[in-house]
Subunit: 289 residues, 2 copies
């Protein structure tokens, strides 16, 4: 590309579009019972970077589809992501008081409502994906007991024990990777991807998802609460097996870099249409929070 | 009908078929991570009467459909019901230690796994309903923040305050009624119901759902732990507004009887094909646990 792709502007514009769509698609805060809709919206609009729904729209674009076709799916993915954070932050799970610099859902609304707000966002995601049964199947598979939820179970079970590198990779492929890959696949499907395109973008997603978690682990060791907007050092506190603990910080960074290089290779045949996906891959590697 | 319908045998045969289907459709207890699949199956096979999935199959039959067509939907409905019980029993919700005479999910597997087992069953329900987008929409609407979850929120908010009869009815129409009506509608849809048939069965379901909750409240006052297989008197302990509290036991029973009479009127045009639905309506009124 002669002109460098402006990712910051792309994330801003696309993020704003996603926020508008979410605001339109999720019941208003005044819809009875107001408590649940306020709680859902509190976490949904808590300043997330919308990386997953942006990936959905960018994947749709990469195969030549119109982003609008993928917007309900982008919102569905963000609902799943937000539900998983709300439940993950509960005292019986990771027990986090802060998320993105703000008190977590259960600190504001109480644990009962937080459980229900997560349940409601999960349910809403399937209403949003109900444009095609293929979307519903993809989302259920990524979010279910052999995807995202498997990762959360493995994460709970890896606490206070020495997990191997293979186990840590398996956990993160489920916990982070499954939804990131599904976000991309759903966008590609909505854009009319060929089987070969879908295969390449699936591998791009798998690379990205694992790299994301490696960098997350690295930042938990090297960053500060102020930069991250959430507690750091939690992994060490919970005696979790992480990539830096198993490989060291430098080798972890190197592994992430190799994954991102492979992700770029998967995008080659898409040409300039994949510029957003390429820029996001680089951003994953270099992000500071 | 000259020959009385044998409901006990129908429930036994149909219940056994549902158990077989659930066992086939839900991941085996050995599927990794085994913990989550054990926890899902623990509550799913805890001796529930399968009333909701039986209604799905019976509604399919009432409109002349083959029950097998509705089986995945019957299983989806039971997954939603079981997830809602697991989350409802959590310490941050109703805080129940026993359910159907057995320790609740979180007492056996811990709160973290119980939250995730509920999440996984909710997700699995949508995988099972993914035969048609109409099914997914119906299920999401019944289970979502303006259906089942709305009822649970209203239930939490009605604790320790004097709710009116109208509020209690609204709560139960959501908390119990929405899923019972959806169970019936899904079966009818899978059986190829006409719009008029669907309308009548929807009203049958609304009647049944409210009557079910009235009788539940009555039994919480008049029954014992031994008969119910769960703690009784919980409503009084939690200072909940219930039908017996607002209307007295006799008037509550009378209201339930009137609803069941209306339910029977909705079934008239279906003839003998609706014999199971008619018998279930009577069973709702006369059950002791």
């Amino acid at each position: 590309m002669t002109q460098p792709f402006n990712l910051e502007r792309y994330l801003q514009t696309t993020g704003a579009r996603i926020n508008t769509a979410l605001d339109r698609l999720i019941p208003a805060a005044t819809t009875p019972p107001a408590t649940i809709h306020k709680a859902m919206r509190y976490s949904l609009f808590a300043g997330g970077k919308r990386i997953r729904p942006v990936l959905t729209l960018a994947a749709c674009e990469a195969v030549g589809g119109k982003p609008a076709a993928a917007m309900p799916l982008a919102c569905a993915v963000e609902c799943i992501h937000t539900y998983s954070l709300i439940h993950d932050d509960l005292p019986c799970m990771d027990d986090d008081d802060f998320r993105r610099g703000q008190p977590t859902n259960h600190k504001v609304f109480g644990e009962g409502i937080a459980v229900l707000a997560g349940d409601a966002l999960l349910t809403e995601a399937f209403a949003l994906a109900a444009g095609d049964v293929r979307y519903v199947k993809e989302l259920a598979s990524a979010a279910g007991s052999r995807g995202l939820i498997a990762g959360q179970v493995q994460d709970l079970e890896n606490e206070n024990r020495a997990a191997t590198l293979q186990e840590v990779i398996a956990t993160h492929r489920n916990k982070t990777g499954a939804l990131i890959t599904a976000a991309i696949r759903l966008g590609a499907m909505a854009g009319g991807a060929t089987p070969a395109q879908l295969r390449r973008l699936t591998r791009y997603g798998d690379d990205l998802g694992l790299a994301f978690q490696i960098i997350d682990d690295v930042l938990d060791v090297t960053s500060t609460k102020e930069v991250m907007g959430k507690s750091v050092g939690a992994d060490a506190k919970n005696q979790k097996s992480t990539f830096p603990k198993l490989l060291g910080v430098e080798k972890s960074r190197q592994m992430a870099a190799e994954l991102i290089a492979d992700a770029h290779r998967q995008l080659k045949s898409f040409g300039t249409r994949a510029a957003p996906l390429a820029a996001i891959a680089d951003f994953f590697l270099t992000r500071q929070h």
